[in-house]
Amino acid sequence: MTSTVVIAPLLVALGTAILALLTRRVPRLQRALSVAGAGAYVVGVAVLVRAVRLDPDGRLVYRVSNWDGPFGIVLIADPLSTLMLALAAVVSLVAAVYSVRFVGREGQRLSYHALYHLMVVGVTGALLTGDVFNLFVWFEVMLMSSYVLVAFASDSDATRAALQYAVLNLLGSAVMLLAIGGLYATTGTLNMADMARRLADPTAFGIDPAPVLGLSALLLVVFLLKAGVMPFQFWVPDAYRAAPAPVTAVLAGVVKKVGVYAVVRLYFTVFAAAPLTVSLPGISGGPELGFLAFFGPVLFLMATASAILGGLGAIDQPDMEGLLAYSSIAQIGFIMLPLAVAATAAAPAVRTVGIAAALVYSVNHGLAKSLLFLAVGAAEDAIGSTRLSDLGGLTEVAPVLSGAFLIGALSLVGIPPLTGFFAKLLVFDTAVRAGAPLALAVALAGAILTIAYVTRAWNNAFWGSPGSRVHAAATAARTGRDDGPAVADGGHADAADDAHGTAGDDLATVASIADPVLVGCTLSLAVLLVALGIGFDPLYAAATDAAAAALDTEAYVRAVDPAIAGDAIADGGGTGGDQDVAEQLRALRGDGR
């Protein structure tokens, strides 16, 4: 069905960005608008999610400027895109609130809020669009905004990281443009649904699907680059270190997932339709697998490399942000792994489980990794460093923050009943159901590496003896709140003297060194991880719906089909057909000339 609700989240985010730019002279109003805009975005997404659920087809379409697809640009919201949108909405709201306290005043006034919401615009557009060139545009929006946000601190590290980020991603953009140009030339269309329809029946449209495989492989590079899959992960560690914590949270939690979404959408919904026999040494597949016979092994190799090498790299990082960055590389491997298994699985049930596993894992990683980056940011805010050698003993001075971090970390490991457990469970289950012992072995090895780096981080940063910086922060927290309970035992007067001691008693009087708002943001995500785990049923239902939607190419095409799009309102839908389109076009050709 067509509905204007589809474009609502995008307009909300865009409007917020513009308002944030216009109110630069009134910083207080600007910050309020930014947070309110993020809240409105959540509402917009919620309305859209509900509308999609209520729709009998589960797919809502919006034709921009009212031009019919495939000629104009079509936005389409289905369970897959709305699941990712919901993740984006939650993370971006939390991170927006966090930003107000975390980012320097001048930075906020200059451009932070506008750029932040433009990044959300890019994410939203990419998740909703049904047009590959339009997808390119939203990727550019995401890239440009995140480039500035990575460089935001403007010191030498941030500038260097942002330059690398921008250059690598611009290379990706060039590749994307090349691939999209090629796809247009070979299939004659840019609309995803139309492309799927044409690929499904290539002879009827005079298409040779053979070159499309290579072109789609070229396009895959861009999505994997966005997602940070090996060997396209090179921008990840430095960029995550350089960007402010809330930006990193959105980059790791949401922007990465756009890459995952694009892989699912294009390769399982669109390109999977093409009947093509693939053969390479070691790879072979009949026409029923199509392109996926090629992408399955490719994704498997990359997922394995990411999960193992990323996990290994995370173990001995000198700083928390680096550790979490490597962990992101590893976790994206876990997301790609079930997709790889699903790609080569013949049974549709296994394919559904595989995609659902990737989506649940995406949601888990989106929430958990954002939480961890925000927690580390809160610690940095108080202590001024994220180097493991400067941290230590955080549980003693920031117990709630530590608890939230622990929940996020355990969710990464996959400890029940957190969301991460079910994510890992589904990844394992995909491997078991598909009879893929190698995939199971990779998942197990990756999971063990996760335990290794998570426990190491916990031991070094949260247990152990508090370092001098932690003591200094504790002293500052105490003197900063002279009327607090800290004074109760009267022992604080000489605290400055023994701040470097190891007795620990001077710390006992500090309730928390971390900023309460920052802690609150972190905690809210922890609560969500617990709640979505204990009440996993709705998330699982949403993920299987999304997986089913991703695999139902026919329904996707039907929802956008140009033949029925024109008179959908008149006759309330219909099956349409290639015939109608051909006739319509022939008629048009006659008219136009």
Binding site: N66, N134, S154, L168, D316, V432, L440
Partner: protein, 857 residues
């Protein structure tokens, strides 16, 4: 009697519900919060007691779409573990009041311990495999937190991480095993299920079909092995026993509770629970026995020997725990015609006996450490004079552990001997190794048990403090109560059997089997049997060997210092090796040199695309061999020369100028292709870029990086050629295609003004330039995005300039804030982070880690 769902849920939920109250209560009542926790444990115990004799399952929905339920199953085995968890819980909480009086972190301690108790009850009663796994992993996590209770100590952190790595990793293998079982059950008539026992379509109820499905898929042994990995990591069986001695870093009540009586019992519980599924009644010895009985007996022997090498009383008890868990696993592992019932009896009875005497001994160890301020075996002795009651308690428990009649451990060990004997008689041959190993291992058990008992007798070492006080009542009563139970069970074993053991072992029998009543009593000892002979042989050999304990101790210490046979050596090698690999990997992958980032990206792209073209088979390509018109050849020739010149350009300026030659040639190609508007655009862009470049280049350093080695130059050239070829191939295949009905036809048709139209129309573009109409109408949405990009480019300049100014001011104002670490603080920080000092009076059992304690966290 059917179990009552509400009561069961209440018993399980009570500890979890109590957790949030701990911090608040601690503020009010202080350390007496221990009694609150004990009351909670007693509440759970009481609730479970009402279910005594119940048998059956209750099903609660949890995640219906995933087929996961919160099925709880009550039978003798579940109740046995449940009573242990809550009953020992009461005693341990009470004991903690005395033990923890001078420790830190009470809130954390009691809250975690309560959560652990709830999780353990969950393990006991959950019949759905995934629900079981939830609680299983929660016990691992709470164990991690409790082992790391002394969180500033490196040894605690090392121990906590080690236990987490081993038990959680093992748990993941087990999870994979569960999924294999569920997968196999999907092929049976009963359908896919995670429910192990208690319902009509549960795995055990349809055991025959599930086993057949597993065997048909070749998954029987893998499933068994995966589940077994979970059990033996949790129950600290060789070679995964290494985490348990380190876990003694935890406060002693935790060791008594988690690491002897309950958590480590989860593994053996699982073995007992799965026995009916994997070890049905067969005429032959099942894989189950070959795997688990062998592993249990070997592990029992190895860890008993290691216990003799212990220097610390808790370390001794830790190895001993691993050894006794091996005995239980061996008991459950022995199946087949001769042992199906006896084995189950051994396992169930020893779970009970071991929990009772080992918890007692740990609590005693806590008293000794608390009062004598040392845990070193060599520094202790002759304590009976100071602690007479404790000596009596220890006597009962230690003799039970040694297997001396008529103490409680004797009875279950006797059952093991009996089982191994009958298996050997039935199957002969190599199976005689089972009784032989059982006796051999038990000799060491006898030895270390007596060694522990001798802490109270003999001479007082000179270094021992004179002022050894009697423990407070809160610390004395719990072990005394346990010792009383042990004594009663020893003298009248039928008491324990009738109370819980009979119904517990029945749970581990094959579904169809009829259980007979197990009867044991002292008069039975007066009729000689071969297995009674084995017991006597054990005690006799032990008594003969005890005078040589010192030499044996030294021998074991020498043997376990051998690197290649020590699991600790492998663990430390792997974890520390991983650190080294991690560092090298990070530097190797992300060393910071930009070219090393770009090259893999380009290579990956080219390989992926070309592989795609290759995999698709033949692609038709048009125009190969056709000769292009002369002007085009000239223009392209100039472009190629320009491209070559770019690569050789000696400076930025020359590079940009030659690059623009390329750009202008492209513009001419557009002209030749009848696209004047594109050509104009290209010319404008090319000119602008050239001018901008020249303006900016003035500010950049005027040199290029040098290609240092010839090999690198060749590699770069090859990569560049590959990328060029990829793009060439892509353009070639793209331009060769001629799809029907491309969408641009629609744009051509609709861009203009319709032939007949009113003042207002919306179905045509109404423009004269189709490109413009596409940009501002058909695809205006793209243009919106691009405008945003351009706006952000402007914003980025503003931001970078503004923020740089901001950062510079801040740096100028606070020079110290961004400088390196405060030099005064650095030594302190490093001191807390390095390896722990190997001082002699370190109470930690650092020997238990083969000298590696605390190096890697």
């Amino acid at each position: 009697m059917q179990p009552d769902a509400a009561v069961l849920v209440a018993a399980l939920a009570l500890p979890f519900v109590a957790v949030p109250f701990v911090p608040a209560l601690f503020r009010v009542v202080g350390q007496r919060v221990a009694f609150f926790a004990a009351a909670v444990a007693a509440g759970s115990f009481g609730l479970l007691a009402t279910q005594y004799g119940a048998h059956g399952a209750v099903q609660l929905p949890w995640i219906p779409s995933l087929g996961v339920s919160l099925t709880l199953y009550v039978d003798g085995l579940a109740l046995l573990i449940g009573f242990l968890a809550s009953g020992v819980g009461v005693l341990v909480f009470t004991y903690s009041y005395g033990y923890m009086a001078h420790e830190h972190g009470h809130v954390k301690y009691y809250a975690t311990l309560l959560a652990f108790m709830g999780s353990m009850l969950g393990v006991a009663f959950a019949a759905d495999l995934l629900a079981l796994f939830v609680f299983w992993e929660l016990t691992s996590v709470t164990s991690f937190l409790l082992i790391g209770h002394h969180q500033r100590e490196d040894a605690s952190q090392y121990a906590a991480r080690k236990s987490m790595l081993i038990t959680v990793a093992g748990g993941l293998f087990m999870l994979a095993g569960f999924l294999v079982l569920a997968f196999a059950s999907g092929d049976t008539a009963a359908g896919r299920t995670f429910v192990l026992i208690g319902t009509e379509n549960s795995l055990i109820a349809n055991g025959e079909a599930v086993r057949e499905a597993l065997r048909a898929a070749g998954l029987f042994v893998p499933a068994l092995a995966l589940v077994a990995v979970g059990a033996i990591t949790k129950s600290a069986q060789a070679p995964f026993h290494v985490w348990l001695p380190n876990a003694m870093e935890a406060p002693t009540p935790v060791s008594a509770f988690l690491h002897s009586a309950t958590m480590v019992k989860a593994g053996v519980y699982l073995v007992g629970r799965f026995r009916p599924l994997f070890a049905p009644e067969l005429p032959s010895v099942p894989e189950w026995t070959l795997l688990l009985a062998t592993l249990g007996l070997v592990s029992m022997t190895i860890t008993a020997i290691l216990a003799v090498g212990a220097t610390d009383i808790k370390e001794l008890l830790a190895y001993s725990t691993a050894s006794h868990l091996g005995l239980i696993i061996a008991g459950y592992g022995l199946a087949g015609p001769a042992a199906v019932e006896l084995g189950a009896e051994t396992g169930a009875f020893h779970i009970f006996n071991h929990a009772v005497f080992k918890a007692t001994l740990f609590l005693v160890a806590g008293i000794i450490a608390h009062e004598a301020h040392t845990r070193k075996l060599e520094e202790l002795g002759g304590l009976a004079g100071d602690l007479p009651i404790v000596a009596g308690i220890t006597g009962i428990a230690a003799l039970g552990m040694a297997g001396v009649p008529p103490f409680n451990g004797f009875w279950s060990k006797e059952l093991l001997f009996e089982t191994t004997y009958f298996v050997a008689v039935e199957h002969g041959g190599l199976y005689w190794l089972y009784p032989a190993i059982a006796v051999f291992g038990s000799v060491f058990t006898f030895l270390y048990s007596i060694r522990f008992l001798m802490l109270f007798f003999g001479d007082r070492p000179s270094g021992l403090a004179d002022d050894i006080h009697r423990p407070p009542l809160a610390m004395l009563a719990p072990p005394a109560l346990l010792a009383a139970i042990a004594l009663a069970t020893g003298i009248v074993p039928q008491l324990g059997i009738d109370a819980v053991v009979q119904s517990a072992f029945e749970a581990s029998l094959p579904v169809a089997a009829e259980a007979h009543s197990l009867t044991l009593s002292i008069p039975k000892l007066f009729s000689f049997t071969p297995y009674l002979g084995m017991s006597l042989l054990t005690v006799g050999l032990g008594a003969v060997a005890y005078p040589f304990y010192g030499r044996l101790h030294a021998g074991v210490r020498w043997a376990r210092a051998v690197d290649y046979t020590s699991p600790n050596w492998y663990y430390d090698g792997l974890t520390e090796g991983a650190n080294g690999v991690s560092r090298r990997l990070a530097v190797g992958l992300h060393g910071g040199a930009f070219r090393t980032y770009v090259a893999p990206l380009l290579l990956g792209t080219a390989v992926l695309a070309l592989a795609g073209y290759a995999a698709a088979g033949s692609i038709s390509v048009d125009g190969v061999g056709a000769v292009p018109p002369v002007p085009l050849i000239v223009v392209l020739g100039v472009a190629v020369v320009g491209a070559g010149a770019v690569a050789r350009a000696p400076s930025h300026i020359a590079g940009v100028l030659t690059l623009s030659v390329l750009g202008f040639m492209v513009a001419i190609v557009f002209i030749l292709a009848n696209a004047p508007d594109l050509a104009l655009t290209q010319l404008v862009i090319e000119t602008l870029v050239l001018v901008l470049f020249l303006l900016v280049l003035d500010r950049l350093p005027a040199y290029y990086g040098e290609i240092r080695s010839r090999a690198r130059g060749i590699a770069d050239a090859a990569l560049a050629s590959l990328v060029g070829f990829t793009v060439f191939a892509t353009v070639l295949v793209a331009t060769s295609a001629s799809p029907e009905e491309p969408i641009f036809q629609y744009f051509l048709a609709r861009a203009g003004v319709p032939a007949e139209h009113g003042p207002f129309f919306s179905d045509f573009g109404g423009g004269s330039n189709v490109v413009n109409v596409i940009l501002v109408d058909f695809r205006a949405f793209d243009t919106l995005g691009e405008i945003a990009v351009v706006a952000m480019a402007a914003l980025s300049v503003l931001t970078l300039v503004g923020m740089r100014a901001q950062t510079e001011t801040e740096m100028a104002e606070r020079p110290e804030s961004d400088s390196a670490d405060d030099p005064a603080a650095t030594p302190a920080t490093d001191g807390g982070r390095g390896p722990p000092p190997a001082s002699a009076d370190d109470p930690a059992p650092s020997d238990g880690t083969d000298g590696s304690g605390g190096v890697d966290r």
